[in-house]
């Protein structure tokens, strides 16, 4: 593919994102004309309730969608390169299982130990879920991080990550078994994923951490490219594979862990978008793929958010289902058409 074609594709993606962003802001249960939205964004006072909806609800939700799409896709791409596995994604090392264990403990264990958890719950207030998810993800991250220093081959690390996923899943199951329907429901609602729970307050924490993780991944472009040749060749051209692995894990844990804490585990995007980027740009080079997955991930997530708002209705579908139902066929189509998976992981 010529460089010119690539530039056109990138510009096209930017235009798409801008378009989807506008549509995402326009659509919703309260209809607000699009020219008024622009005015509100420019800082004008149009109408108090409209201002409130756009600035405090729709805008943070759209920004969250962009961050989730970009962050999870980049994490997925790095995991796929590190583990040379097309099925790898941001959650492959058990980050989301750790987060869900934290949330499950917080939501459901208050039944088992009412005194302790009840006090913590009321102290943290609206941050309770976020804090517990971050704590759960961090514990898994520390364990995986220590394992990655001791274990020098990536496949073993992958298996350990999957094992942790199973173990934490089992613990969550046990907690579910013993909890009240009410608490069970609030946990399950969390696992559905939601982009609308992020307020500006929370955005102040989430956005910088995710952006920092993304910047780290751009520094990793060179070692990631070398890893495409296999770990031995990568060492041969002077890359410290162990150090690269640790930085990749740190960056993924930051991005995926933080996003999961605020939005719930959003599956599918992280595995699918890297494949779409490879198919569209026809290359395995991270210098192209990394910005490509940022843009494609953001665009796709905005589309999913638009689709999750059932037109003419108050309800929104769980975002986790929307990403899979609408994104799945797209990815299948892309893969069948271009056979890029085979070219990348033969």
């Amino acid at each position: 593919m010529q460089n010119k074609t690539k530039i056109i594709l990138f510009v096209g993606l930017f235009v798409l994102i801008a378009l989807f962003l506008v549509v995402d802001l326009v659509l919703g249960s309260v209809s607000i004309p699009s020219e008024k939205i622009l005015a509100i964004l420019m800082g004008e006072d149009v109408k108090a309730s409209w201002n409130y909806i756009i600035l405090n609800f729709r805008l943070p939700k759209a920004i969250t969608a962009i961050l989730v799409g970009a962050g999870l896709s980049v994490s997925g791409l790095m995991m796929q390169t590190l583990f040379r596995n097309p099925l790898a994604g941001p959650y492959v090392l058990g980050i989301s299982s750790g987060a869900s264990l934290g949330v499950a403990l917080m939501v459901m264990a208050s039944v088992l130990l009412p005194g302790v958890f009840g006090a913590v719950y009321s102290f943290l207030g609206s941050w309770a879920l976020v804090v517990s998810a971050i704590a759960g993800a961090s514990i898994i991250f520390v364990i995986i991080g220590m394992a990655s220093i001791r274990i020098s081959d990536s496949v073993s690390l992958l298996i350990i990550g999957i094992m942790f996923g199973s173990i934490t899943g089992a613990v969550v199951n046990i907690l579910q078994y013993f909890s009240d329907p009410e608490q069970l429901q609030s946990f399950i609602v969390w696992t559905f994923g939601s982009l609308s729970g992020v307020t500006w307050n929370e955005m102040h924490l989430m956005a910088p951490v995710v952006v920092l993780g993304l910047l780290m991944s751009f520094v990793l472009i060179k070692p990631l490219d070398a890893l495409l040749l296999g770990e031995n060749y990568a060492r041969g051209v002077g890359i410290s594979v162990n150090r690269t692995r640790i930085w990749v894990i740190i960056s993924t844990a930051l991005v995926a862990g933080t996003l999961t804490a605020f939005t719930g585990p959003i599956a599918f995007i992280g595995v699918a978008v890297p494949h779409m980027a490879r198919a569209i740009f026809g290359t395995a080079s991270h210098k192209v793929l990394l910005p490509a997955v940022v843009l494609i991930g953001a665009a796709l997530m905005l589309v999913c958010d638009i689709l999750s708002q059932v037109p003419g209705n108050q309800t929104t579908l769980p975002i986790n289902s929307v990403t899979a139902i609408f994104g799945g066929p797209v990815v299948i189509w892309v893969i069948v058409r271009s056979r890029s998976v085979k070219a990348s992981f033969s």
Binding site: R84, V219, I221, K222, D225, A226, L228, L229, G230, N232, Y233, R235, G236, V237, G238, I239, S240, R278, G282, T283, A284, S285, K287, S340, K342, A343, S344, F345, S346
Partner: protein, 339 residues
Amino acid sequence: MSDNYCREILETDGLSIGYKQKRDEDLCLLSDLNLTVRRGELVCLLGPNGSGKSTLMRTIAGLQAPLKGKTLVEKMPIRERNFGEIARLLSIVLTERLQVGNLSVYHIVSLGRHPYTSWMGRLSEKDESMIKWALEQVGLWKYANKFINQLSDGERQRVMIAKALAQDTPLIMLDEPTAHLDLPNRVEIMRLLRNLAKETDKAILLSTHELDLALQAADVIWLMSKNKDIKIGAPEDLVLSGSIEDTFKNKSFNFDRKSGNFIMNYQKKQKIQLVGNDVMGFWTQRALSREGYQVTCEKTGHCSIHLIEDRMEWEIHNNGNITNCKNIQDLLLNLNTNL
């Protein structure tokens, strides 16, 4: 000759290779190795499976810790350097096939410039001219923009050699570079490596199973065998001293010192006389030995084979009966049914 120009690119100083074990004594494969590879030399590391070739290669490349001693490239001890510094001293080419397809040949060779580029990996003009030069050396400049999965196995291996050249190191190490290739490509790769050693004045060290090719291409052979010292010398010296014969000795075949080939041992059936010589005679003899006949040129028994060279035909004389054969397959078929 300037002071910093050293003839010896690679030296090992009392190197012992093997594996450290937690409970038992260390498993030592070879000890006190003092090996050298000089500028412009092609050295082939030969030995049967399990003799420790890979361990020696890995230890020299600094990927595995030696039990004792050290490896020096241009007088610099490898183990005291980090990956980035080692990558400027030695480059490697491996047996393993690349698992990635959608990378361009140019991009792969450019990865050889990693030790010299900044964290962004941006290629300077010098980097780009090195990449072009490396691809020209292996004859693949015209494929620079092709994807690696559009190339044959032989071409892929040449791409990896170009990557090693682009890395601009005094020493290039190749681990069984011809393992997956067919005969023409194996010969081509060995010829290319020999020429590169001579033209670029680099030291090239490769491990291989290809005894015949190594005998023809190498300046020096390092011969390894299980539980024995490593033997070093020009290929011809090792043949004359019988070292090669000893190392590859086996019940079912012999190394023939005269031809430099392996001859399979077949169960001997009976003697048969062959009349005629030259090329046709040579190949007829080979066919007969494969079938288990002991071929002589003296008269023995009642059966003999005569070559009619001008017609390219064979005659079997058996007790005065003459059978005419058009080709060797026919000849063997007749012998097996009649005798």
